[in-house]
Amino acid sequence: MTALLQTPLHALHLELGARMVEFAGYDMPVQYPAGVMKEHLHTREAAGLFDVSHMGQVILRADSYEAVALAVEALVPVDIAGLKIGRQRYGFFTNEDGGLLDDLMLANRGDHLFMVVNAACKQEDLAHMIAHLKGVTIEPVTDRALLALQGPEAEAVLAALAPDVAAMKFMDVITSTILGAEAWVSRSGYTGEDGYEISVPEAKAEALARALLEDARVLPIGLGARDSLRLEAGLCLYGHDIDTATSPVEAALTWAIQKVRRSGGAREGGFPGADRILSEIHNGAERRRVGLRPEGRAPMREGTPLYASEAGGDPVGEVTSGAFGPTLGAPMSMGYLPSELAAPGTTVYGEVRGRRLPATVAELPFVPASFKR
């Protein structure tokens, strides 16, 4: 068995009393002494600090931003060329079947395209880009840490170290100086709260984390609460809610495919799986990702089969993510259902420990977002 990888904050996690688990080959904190519930609630009330250095940061360059953007558009069904400088956008790699290879963030940083990909997919994503991108230099960024500061107090906390972050709007990206080091900061995150994602040189990561934790409003947050926060926010987790078998239309991610890449747009198609994806945008997909509110108190976890009726019949779908929502105060799930059963308010039945329990299709997010638009 190979040893687990460590982020630049590994020693700090241990010092803070984190319970560590393996995630995507890394030794990561799942919770700190406060526990998942308190860490989750604290993030929505004040500010939570997350180590997300395991994720992949990649710089892509060509002769111009437009050149690299157009090249990457051949792999991603998103308007990258039209992304303004200093702006970030959500996207995904698709495959020939119209399924999803990974979801990611893309930013126009002027002389390059900056990409952040999931830790579990970063090697495959790099290989995919190397195999298919023409005329682009691909530079994995291996010497920088990535921290996320999320919550209503995030702006006040970070602005004390870097005043220029206060003026940022949701999905802005800037270069700032924090504790004397060059920081790449985006106003974005994975929690539904206002907040920032901050890339710093790995040698500065611990000092930055300690400086942020010194602020009484900040608590360190582990992967356990990261998951309950993103699920309340209705956000997908690659490998669970989205994978190579789900198209972006089935996954209710059509909003991320700008008109210019759809049928009739100036740069329509031209990405893997375009036939299926453009057809599904036009005609609808057979199934759809939905939110689910179990009617009782029992959570319906990943893998729970979903039925259309209380008895009889085969499963019509399944739960892909499920947990208890600390802010919601109730269990919550995401899963796939046939489109005809996907309307909010529809009752379906999840089989939990041999019994079918009712759940109601619900709008996502379960908890409203608080972005600084």
């Binding site: 919770q31 526990g35 998942v36 519930m37 308190k38 989750h40 356990g224 609460a225 998951d227 309950s228 108190r297 029992a298 959570p299 976890r301 947990a323 208890f324 600390p326 269990p331 420990r353």
Partner: protein
């Protein structure tokens, strides 16, 4: 009081045994959000899945430590699962069982042996 390898405590009370999980177990599980108790009157065999407890992220089973009949369950936990974290050794008992064979208690550890096991 006796303790099982699965971190349950067993406390004789008149002719029944009260069963809960230890502080160590509650801490390991994390914040408890849901408890599913057996129905009163259920006959159980040792090692049957008896109680389901769920934390934010995962579900765990409590196994019946003895053969017997469930004579009382702690309904308070249905609306108040967090009690398991607050007072696992007292208020947050799960069920009371009328044992079919009291000698099964001999299989289990006393407090000193349990403390030893978890250290």
């Amino acid at each position: 009081m006796k303790f099982t390898e699965e971190h349950e405590w067993l406390r004789p009370e008149d002719d029944v045994i009260v069963v809960g999980i230890t502080e160590h177990a509650a801490e390991q599980l994390g914040d408890i959000v849901f408890v599913e108790l057996p129905e009163v009157g259920t006959e159980v065999s040792k090692d049957d899945e008896c109680v389901v407890i769920e934390s934010v992220k995962a579900a765990s089973d409590i196994l019946a430590p003895l053969d017997g009949e469930i004579v009382e369950v702690n309904d308070m936990l249905i609306d108040n699962p967090a009690k398991v974290n607050d007072d696992p050794m007292g208020d947050a008992w799960f069920f009371k069982i009328k044992p079919a064979d009291l000698s099964q208690m001999d299989d289990y550890m006393d407090e000193a042996e349990y403390k030893d096991m978890i250290s």
